[in-house]
């Protein structure tokens, strides 16, 4: 039997978000944290680690990318440049 897979997220320094850096196998969360420290922060790459067992992540399916993300494409009115204002106007 294999150890379950965990996904690893690292905050590189305070003020920045945790970012996904990779995955690893571990028997439990505690071991996952210890292994993540050894594998992903050997050169001070982080100040904080999150681990989560991969099975707990729900991911969108690339096949549904169209219906999920395309509707945003034609909504240019969500961007500031859609609104036409005189150029002499400042600070807006």
């Amino acid at each position: 039997m294999e150890y379950p897979i965990f996904e690893v997220f690292i905050r590189s320094k305070n003020g920045l978000e945790h970012r996904h850096v990779g995955s690893l196998h571990a028997a439990d969360e505690e071991m996952a944290l210890e292994n993540a420290r050894d594998v992903y922060t050997r050169r001070q790459e982080g100040v904080s680690i999150w681990v989560v067992e991969s099975k707990h992540i729900t991911a969108s399916n690339p096949e549904n990318a169209g219906e999920l993300f395309e509707p945003a494409k034609d909504k240019v009115y969500r961007h500031p440049t859609f609104y036409e204002l005189p150029i002499e106007l400042k600070h807006i």
């Binding site: 039997m1 294999e2 150890y3 990779g22 995955s23 439990d28 594998v39 050997r42």
Partner: protein
């Protein structure tokens, strides 16, 4: 059938447009298979690669050399892990990969089937073997499969220290006593040709190259990478005052590259087939590690389950 062709055309169009492929995307079965093979063999190379170098950790000549080598070997373990993780995104388990390695179904880089006879070999490996690996890996940071490319970026960042520590060892020996210099020359003599073989067979004998280039798994051919390595490395050898063991090696003004002698491809295929000096020893070491560690893994899992059960108990008690 026509749907399959259509999907394959679309896939190729994405590759041609420079898009990266991610694990859950549709991909041709052969693309998946090729990646599983290549990434797992790359991972195995990192892991088996720890063995020849680990051989010298306890006998490093100074503490400075020892901490450097120890850190390098630790890195190789990490690199193996990044790569196994990338391969796992394609649906093969770590366990399956390990079994493929110890049963000989999966290969690893032949270079690690050569023994490390002297301390100078550690220098030669860092300089030449890691140097050759870097050339290949820098190319792979732009490979089409996302998880593989990301693993490569991480690895390349760490790898340049490996090559520098190797060259520094060579430099120390080359500038040392005549005996030390002779030791460095001997290591170069033994590792030069196997290092050139690391780039794989000549293009005309490498049937997979064309498809790999088309899918942007590789962006340069074996011969191109080999030439690049030679052109970079010869001036470094000259700086050391050492001689590359190739009487035919000569700068070709017209080509703007070094010409070099014929590689002994019989030796290459012999080592690939398992008849190198250390093939059996390497596999035996990996098998022993797997078997000796089995009870530890089982115990850790049992402990984790117990702990989990206790947590649930507590919760229900409240």
């Amino acid at each position: 059938m026509s749907k399959e062709i259509n999907l394959e055309e679309k896939f190729q169009a994405r590759i041609d447009a420079g898009e990266r492929i991610e694990p859950k995307d549709w991909m041709p079965a052969k693309y998946r298979k090729t990646h599983i093979r290549q990434i797992s063999q790359h991972a195995h190379s990192e892991i088996v690669g720890m063995l020849p170098e680990g051989n010298w950790i306890t006998r490093a000549p100074t503490l400075r050399r020892k901490v450097g080598l120890l850190a390098k070997v630790q890195d190789e373990a990490g690199h193996g892990l990044y790569l196994y993780s990338a391969a796992e995104t394609l649906g093969i388990s770590r366990d399956e990969m390990e079994i493929q390695l110890i049963t000989g179904k999966a290969k690893y880089s032949s270079i690690f089937n050569y023994p490390t006879l002297s301390w100078a070999d550690i220098g030669a490996i860092g300089w030449l073997v890691d140097g050759a690996a870097i050339i290949n890996q820098v190319m792979l940071t732009r490979t089409s499969f996302g998880p593989y490319a990301r693993a490569m970026v991480r690895i390349c960042k760490e790898e340049s220290f490996h090559q520098r520590q190797g060259y520094e060892i060579m430099l120390g020996l080359a500038q040392g006593t005549p005996e030390q210099k002779a030791m460095a020359q001997d290591a170069l003599n033994r590792f030069w040709w196997p290092s050139l073989m690391m780039f794989g067979p000549k293009d005309e004998d490498s049937p997979n190259t064309e498809q790999s280039v088309k899918w942007k798994i590789k962006r340069k051919t074996n011969d191109e990478l080999r030439q690049q390595f030679i052109d970079i490395t010869i001036p470094q050898a000259e700086y050391l005052g050492l001689t590359v063991p190739d009487p035919e090696l000569k700068w070709n003004e017209e080509r703007g590259h070094y010409d070099f002698g014929e590689i002994d491809w019989d030796e290459f295929w012999q080592v690939v087939k398992g008849n190198g000096p250390c093939n059996k020893e390497r596999i035996a070491a990996r098998t022993k590690a797997r078997e000796d560690g089995a009870w530890v893994r089982a115990a850790a899992l049992a402990h984790a389950e117990k702990k989990e059960a206790r947590k649930v108990e507590k919760k229900t008690a409240v």
